[in-house]
Symmetry: C2
Subunit: 215 residues, 2 copies
């Protein structure tokens, strides 16, 4: 049966997205710290950076990085994560994800703006733009996934909307052993997932705490 | 050299003290959930409940529970944790901790009210009441500890004051794998301890995440 899956980064002090971006440093410094252990894994280096040398960490961080992409049949993300409004004057803009995005599945981009035609990319990714309720978009993505899982990709607003609606079957948190002191919080006003899900905690060699909620 | 030590309970969603107390349930339900793994340890059962049967969990939770009391020469706590204002009309009130409190050391109780004489209890505990700055009380407690460590016992307000002043050498967090959704937050406006302290993360069989900051 299709599961709805969500993987998120969190700092010890509870921040899941960062707010220190500047024009000179568009990612900011905090995001790199928050995701460092994931970015160091062999799987990330291979799948996202194209590094086939076998370099990168193995162990628990890498096992979770590998499972992140296994068995996904469709993806849902927010407009900002796609980059929908990043370059409004460029009619050829196709989002942040390059000519061959790393999804390889239908990707449903949530937007409140006017419908637009889908964009088919190399590598099996097709972006669909939807302004429907998240439950309806999820139903469509589930159908498209053909029995595989649906991944909620982010960003934080989209993730929190799915969590608040009780739609996530498997939530995997990577808690970095760092304090950010700024950013946007994950935990505010979430339902008590531990009442509906089983909670598993693990620690990787990097010090990253992996918390998995499953139902 | 004397270290200033602090042990705290935290929920996954960042609450370190609970707010669901009622006259009928003066501890509330949340506190029991937050401290369940600690309360189940063999050390807690023996040292606090007087259970000499050997019952209780062992392993990582118990190792941390045992180290909690090792090498402590003096304690500092807030007025509420002592119970200073709980029964203002009872001149014989000597706090929440019973005739033989589990400290066995000088205990410095922080208060903004008028100075009062110390209270000597059975078992080596003497309560001293101080309205000085926390740095001055710490200096006095350090002197009294005679080379052993000083423990900041709590509650959360006192703990946060010591953390914000950068006075804690060893902070041990027991993160329960639960969401409380209410309470008082640990993490707001704390200095970035990971910049000054080494961070260690571990997981116990109970699922409790132990995070230790040392410098």
């Amino acid at each position: 049966m299709t599961q709805v899956r969500l993987d998120m980064f969190v700092s010890l002090d509870g921040y899941s997205s960062t707010t220190d971006q500047t024009p000179d440093n568009p990612m900011g410094e905090d995001w790199g710290r928050l995701t460092a252990a994931f970015g160091a894994t062999r799987t990330f280096r291979k799948n996202v950076l194209g590094d086939t040398s076998g370099a990168g960490t193995t162990g628990l961080d890498d096992a979770h990085a590998a499972s992140h992409s296994e068995g996904i049949g469709a993806e849902i993300m927010g407009a900002t994560m796609f980059g929908l409004h990043a370059f409004p004057d460029d009619p050829d803009w196709k989002g942040w994800w390059g000519d061959e995005p790393p999804f390889g599945t239908p990707v449903y981009v949530l937007t409140h703006t006017a419908p637009r035609p889908p964009i088919e990319m190399a590598g099996g990714t097709t972006f669909h733009f939807r302004s429907a309720a998240i439950e309806d978009v999820l139903a469509e993505a589930t159908e498209a996934a053909g029995g595989l899982d649906v991944r909620v990709g982010g960003g934080l607003g989209t993730a929190r909307a799915f969590l608040q609606a009780g739609l996530v079957d498997r939530l995997h948190l990577m808690i970095a052993p760092i304090m950010l002191g700024r950013g946007t919080r994950l935990w505010d006003d979430l339902p008590s997932l531990d009442a509906t899900h089983k909670v598993t905690t693990e620690v990787a060699d990097s010090g990253t705490i992996h918390v998995t909620f499953t139902r």
